[in-house]
């Protein structure tokens, strides 16, 4: 099911010492407790959500916001992965750039509102 309210974000990884960091934190996963997710609308949603975005980091610069749900990372699906798998897909040392497909609640609302106006 392809949702219409999606946005593509491209983040350039920042090199800090020996690590490549993206500047945000993720939560969720199929092995986690979905009912404690403050950002999801449906409390049974076991997707990967952005729980924190560090200020001035590459993610914030690229337009990622807290509460975004990550649907794909570089073409890999993130809706049915465990927490650890998600972390691994985001922190591949060989990749400098990650292209995320995210969906956002506020995005849905703006699109819905613009659709209703017509």
């Amino acid at each position: 099911f392809l949702s219409l309210f999606q946005q593509r974000i491209e983040i350039q990884k920042l090199r800090e010492g020996d690590n490549l960091i993206l500047g945000f934190s993720i939560g969720g996963g199929i092995d986690q407790d979905a009912s404690q997710n403050p950002f999801s609308e449906d409390k049974a949603d076991k997707g990967i959500y952005v729980t924190r975005v560090s200020k001035g980091g590459p993610a914030e610069v690229a337009g990622l916001r807290i509460g975004d749900k990550i649907m794909q990372v570089n073409g890999w699906d993130m809706t049915m992965v465990t927490h650890d798998q998600a972390r691994k897909r985001l922190t591949k040392k060989k990749e400098d750039v990650v292209r995320l497909l995210i969906t956002r609640k506020s995005l849905e609302e703006t699109v819905r509102q613009s659709m209703m106006q017509h």
Binding site: I21, L22, F24, S25, I26, G27, D31, Q32, D33, Q36, N37, T51, R52, S54, H83, R87, L90, T91
Partner: protein, 527 residues
């Protein structure tokens, strides 16, 4: 007990000015003292008089509203000394005691009639089988056929069965009666009648079949006697089931409320008649309900008197047929409109009272703890060489009592319990606590909390005469929604009953290995 001129508990509620208080205090204190002296030497029945005769003081105080009257109260009225019309003199008290002696004796006699009847029936039960055996031997010994071992066996069993019957009868029936109920106990009367009927029918058969025809088969006669004893044992079994076992299974829940202060307790009872249920409730009353303290209720009564006295209604249009209801309605409407500040008074009065009680309690606790440090149990080695001033518990109690007496008396006056505890009872309790190595807190607990009526001396355990007030007949069984009242002289207990609902218990099997758990994780990783 103390030598200061602190006013006694009853004039504590007086709303008169301070100036005229001194004379009224002294008079009321004198009255109180004379009553306590009289009452301590008499039976419990007379103490109710002293408590209730001081109560008429309250309406007196309530009806002296203005200050101008208060100032002259001490000089102009005659109700100052101990011989006023509101106090009873020594002769009156003596006369009252004599009056109640007569009915009390009659009641004692009536109480023993059921016991006498039971003993008579028991004697008859004992004599009948023995006479069945003995009479043929006496009247026609030559014609009787001797029977050997079979008869001997029957004699043995008869003897033992009679012994068992007598012991069981003694255990069940020959007990001091706990109470005298207003109507006869139905089950006991029925059982007595049944036994009598059985004995009569056996005597009839014996008379007709055996005595008249001079039966020769002695074996048959012995079997006849044994069958009588068997039947009597079965009647005894019936008695045990009806009198003792049937009412053990609880099926009613009774709610008992005391009318004066609303204290409530619940009891579960089985199927009983109303009078037997009342008996059970009264037995629980003495150990569950805190002691009835009339001194605690006077504040509410004075407030009620003030509400009533607030408004007067004048009929200016002449007398009408519905004047009374119109007047009361007008009073209620006017009272509702009036800005009543009595709730304010109540709030501050109660806060002040709580503060005073806590202060006195603190002083009391400190005084008692200090008093207890002065006395110590004599050790074993010290007993061998006598120090010279060893005391038994009563003397030790008397020695340390004065140091805490004043604090204790002030506390009892503040919580209005002073009439429940006499100096003797306090000293006896102190000696008891010292003997049993109790701490000061254990000693004080019976004064800090109002305990059940059983805890106090006979002076407070006044009412043994209760009246059962019921719309249904008192021998009818309890049912859902039955109500009755148990009235005593100062208060009444209102009892309502409800059936315990039918409980449906179902089963759910849990496999021992079915308890499995997973962890709930919420991790957050930064990337």
């Amino acid at each position: 007990m103390d030598t200061d001129s602190i006013h006694s508990g009853y004039s504590h509620h007086s709303n008169r000015s301070r100036g005229s208080n001194k004379q009224s205090e002294r008079s009321s204190r004198d009255r109180h003292k004379s009553h306590s002296r009289d009452s301590s030497s008499r039976s419990d029945k007379n103490v109710t008089i002293s408590a209730s005769s001081a109560q008429p003081q309250q309406p007196d105080q309530g009806s002296a509203p203005t200050d101008a009257q208060d100032d002259n109260w001490g000089e102009t009225t005659t109700a100052v000394t101990g011989t006023s019309d509101h106090s009873l003199s020594q002769e009156d008290l003596a006369g009252f005691g004599k009056e109640t002696d007569g009915p009390v004796e009659k009641l004692n006699c009536i109480r023993f009639i059921p016991l006498a009847l039971t003993l008579l029936l028991g004697l008859l039960v004992l004599v009948t089988p023995l006479s069945f055996l003995v009479l043929p031997q006496v009247l026609w010994p030559e014609r009787l056929q001797a029977c050997g071992t079979a008869c001997e066996g029957l004699f043995l069993s008869l003897a033992f069965k009679l012994l068992i019957l007598l012991l069981a009868g003694w255990a069940l029936f020959v007990r001091p009666t706990r109470a005298s109920l207003p109507r006869i106990a139905v089950f006991r009367a029925l059982l007595g009648l049944l036994t009598l009927l059985l004995l009569l029918s056996y005597w009839l058969f014996f008379g007709v079949r055996i005595l008249d025809s001079q039966e020769e088969n002695y074996h048959g006669i012995v079997q006849f006697a044994v069958s009588l004893v068997d039947a009597l044992l079965f009647i005894h079994y019936l008695a045990v089931v009806l009198l003792e076992i049937r009412h053990l299974q609880p099926c009613f829940s009774l709610c008992v409320v005391r009318s004066t202060d609303g204290e409530t307790h619940h009891y579960n009872l089985g199927q009983l008649s109303i009078q037997r249920a009342a008996l059970v409730i009264l037995q629980h009353y003495y150990k569950d309900f805190s002691v009835h303290n009339p001194a605690l209720l006077t504040a509410a009564k004075s407030r009620a008197a003030k509400h009533l006295a607030g408004l007067k209604v004048y009929n200016v249009d002449g007398a009408g047929s519905d004047a009374a209801t119109a007047q009361s309605r007008a009073k209620i409407a006017a009272a509702a409109r009036q800005r009543d500040t009595s709730h304010n008074e109540l709030y501050y009065e109660e806060a002040e009272h709580d503060r005073r009680v806590r202060k006195r309690k603190a002083r009391l606790v400190v005084a008692v703890e200090e008093a207890f440090t002065h006395v110590r149990r004599l050790q074993e080695e010290e007993k061998k060489k006598p120090p010279g001033d060893e005391m038994d518990p009563r003397e030790a109690a008397q020695a340390i009592f004065p140091s805490m007496a004043r604090a204790l008396q002030k506390y009892l006056r503040t919580t209005r319990q002073q009439h429940c505890h006499s100096m003797d009872s306090i000293q006896a309790h102190l000696a008891f606590c010292i003997t049993n190595n109790m701490t000061p807190k254990a000693f004080l607990e019976s004064y800090l909390m109002a305990g059940p009526t059983l805890q106090y001396g006979r002076e407070c355990w006044q009412t043994r005469q209760w009246t059962l007030v019921s719309e249904a007949s008192v021998t009818s069984p309890l049912h859902h929604g039955s109500e009755f009242q148990l009235k005593s002289s100062d208060f009444s207990l209102v009892v309502t009953s409800k059936t315990i609902p039918h409980l449906k218990l179902s089963e759910e099997y849990v496999h021992p290995k079915s308890h499995k758990f997973v962890l709930q994780l919420q991790s957050e990783t930064s990337v």
